[in-house]
């Protein structure tokens, strides 16, 4: 059959878009906190205050007159990323992995001229990539030197780890690996591979591309089951502490692993997608319900919350019922 029965999905605890919107995002994410999450610059500032590591900030371009000066931020770097502070869905992110004699190269090796970079910054300032088309600022960040543990797992891009943090509990995680199809981006709907990751160990559970199961990375042919996220303890700790930092109840945290600096927070997402369920091969609802059943007065610290999740949400834990 072309369609699955809705009762079957319900039995598996799979959350749909409507339920996510009204039952979780609408209920647990206060509207007034959205700017903290939607504006990457603001996220960076609160993360710094909360001692959550983030990629180095090279510069910020706020007005058109400063566009000409973008070169001063980027010419001495080994590589950099320019992104709109209020961008959504990975739109408008320009990644330069190699800077050589004033020439700039994208991950796929093609050259990006300085005037093209300036045009990109201009577009960002005009609000082309921002939510609702409002005027925006461009953020220039240092390039993340990604961890060798991911060699062969990602094609032309930084793999990141998405952890869904519900009321401070890390309930589900997945690794997002860019592919040729996703053009170096880590968005699943653009063709990145999603690998479900065990909350307890950081080891791969299951992998999908375009919502269909895969066993090997489509470009490197590396077996995805071998994936193991290093420094998992630190990563899951940082992700969980984003709850206190942002105040968002239902939060998608995007973490990256730097070779030298370890896990760091790339950005927060107040409307995390549903594909993480497919990557993990299981529905997220039973986990959310379990956390909801704890109420608001459990008084757990970040460490206790992580332990709670490790105990209940591991691959080896007994199956949860809705």
């Amino acid at each position: 059959m072309f369609f699955s029965s809705p009762f079957k999905l319900r039995d598996k605890g799979i959350m749909g878009m409507n339920q996510r919107n009204s039952g979780y995002i609408g209920r647990y994410n206060p509207r007034k906190l959205y700017p903290l999450v939607d504006n990457k610059l603001k996220t960076k500032i609160i993360a710094r205050e909360a001692n959550v590591t983030t990629p180095a900030l090279l510069g910020v371009i706020t007005i058109q007159a400063e566009v000409e000066g973008v070169e001063q931020y980027i010419k001495e770097t080994p590589g950099f990323v320019i992104k709109p502070a209020k961008g959504s869905g990975g739109k408008g992110i320009l990644v330069i992995t190699k800077v050589e004699n004033g020439r700039y190269y994208k991950p796929n090796g093609s050259e990006e001229s300085l005037s093209e970079i300036k045009r990109h910054v201009t577009d960002i300032l005009a609000g082309l990539f921002s939510l609702g088309g409002s005027a925006d600022v461009a953020v220039v960040e240092g390039l993340i030197q990604f961890d060798n543990a991911f060699d062969g797992f990602s094609f032309e891009g930084v793999p990141d780890v998405r952890v869904i943090v519900f009321k401070g509990f890390p309930v589900m995680a997945m690794m997002r690996l860019s592919t040729a199809a996703s053009d170096g981006k880590a968005n699943l709907h653009q063709g990145a591979v999603g690998v479900g990751v065990d909350i307890t160990t950081g080891a791969a559970i299951n992998a999908v591309q375009f919502d269909k199961p895969v066993k090997y990375h489509p470009d490197t042919n590396k077996e995805l089951a071998l994936l193991q996220v290093p420094k998992w303890e630190r990563l899951i700790y940082l992700a969980s502490s984003c709850y206190e930092m942002s105040g968002m109840g239902y939060l998608g945290t995007d973490m990256v692993l730097d070779r030298d600096l370890g896990p760091m927070l790339l950005e927060l997402n107040a409307r995390p997608g549903l594909a993480i369920q497919i990557a993990n091969g299981q529905g997220i609802l039973p986990r959310l319900k379990l956390i909801e059943s704890l109420g608001d007065d459990h008084g757990m610290t970040v460490e206790q919350r992580i332990d709670f999740c490790k105990k209940h949400f591991s691959q080896n834990s007994p199956k949860l019922k809705i």
Partner: protein, 508 residues
Amino acid sequence: MNARTFFFVLVAGLLTLGIFQTVQRHVAFDIPWLPGETRTIWNIDAKIDFDANNGAVSASLTTPERQAGYTKISQNAASPGYGLSFLDDGKTQKAEWTIREATGKQTLYYNIQVLEDPKSLDQQILEMPALFEEQYEAAGLAAGTVIIKDAMKTSADAFSFTREVLKQLNAESPNQNVALILTGKTNKTDVLIALLNGAKISTKKVGALLLEDGRRRQHLTPLVEVFQEKDGVISSQLFDATSINSVDRNNLLLWDQSGKSLLELTGGSDSKVSFSMIQQEQPALSALLQKNENEHLFNFSIHSLPIEDQSLFKGILMIPLGVMIVVMMRVLIGLKTSGTFMPVLIAMAFIQTSLVTGLVGFVLLVAIGLFIRSYLSHLNLLLVSRISTVIIMVILLIALFGVLSYKLGLTEGLKITFFPMIILSWTIERMSVLWEEEGAKEVFSQGGGSLLVAVLAYFVMSNDVTRHLMFNFIGLQFVVMALVLLLGSYTGYRLLELRRFKPLADKE
């Protein structure tokens, strides 16, 4: 839980209010559920000809009053140079023309539209018309007295008495009394009235117009209305002096119920009044609206607005339906569209252009726009000026298409100007960025989704029945609102999610 209960009370309240208002409008104002029901309207012209006597002229024409079977919708008069007023003294209604100086042949026109209306009733008779004194010549008086006596014997009340008199007047071989009374008199009606008056029965002369489609130069048929009081209730019947049979009021409009004269003319002579009429079938609704305009029943509805604004609202009131389609497609199906309500705007453009022209035009415009926009990408422009350029480009394209299709003889192509240009430009800009960032596949999926929703919205919004219902029953807006609210609280799966999560559901 409390907020939830309140929500459902609100939705139920809106539904009840909407349905109640809708049913109430249908029952109270007779507004049909379906469009296309028709009612008959008679369009009647009265033409008055006379010679003016080189001085002031005043002509007053008695006009129809409220009566069973017909409702007056509108009246007007044409008569160059004349002052015109419609008079109503509570008993009779008149149209009065006046002029200070007139010479030669004069022609005045009076036009009335009446609706065939089974709900209309005769006016209540409040008093008997007075009997009148008249001197009769001796021979006629004696003959009349005999006729009255004969008829009195074989009758029970005023109506049966009238019938008995009519039998004598219209007998094939009239007796000598009747022959005597009829000699020298051409008009049986006057004879009948005189006889009834002599028998102390109140009467009134009525001028009736037989309605027949397309008839011209018609005259009023004289009828006699006979009154009778029984137990304090006054009733009346119509009689035709030239026939024994009772009068058939089908297709009979009682034009002159004044009991006096049809036309009163001073300052002129040789007057004559003739009538012509046509029958028109009008949609029931507009007929009703015209009827009710006079009665101020629709004062607080959209129908009380000027026609121009009404037609504006005809479009606006359809938008909720289009919006509901968008909500359904997104919440229940999970279709992606480019811009939340863009499909509704496109659907509204389709209504103006007709579907096929609109679809072809839209796809052509966006495709060519995307092509040119890809060149603009290289120019490193500010966003606002780039979109402005796209807007100008779209306008030029529209002009080009218009001229081209006109030269080719395809007037359909001119309708392309109905497209909302700013929306179109934003669509091109968005699609172009989408193309650069996510590839052609996403452009086709979102563009196709938008068009699909737009076409669906078009079918719903352009449907005659829905247009009729939404415009005439404001209550349905509340129903749509309740449905949209309900959809807003739907947390179940979307249809496309059933497909998306199928591999997950089939696992194990």
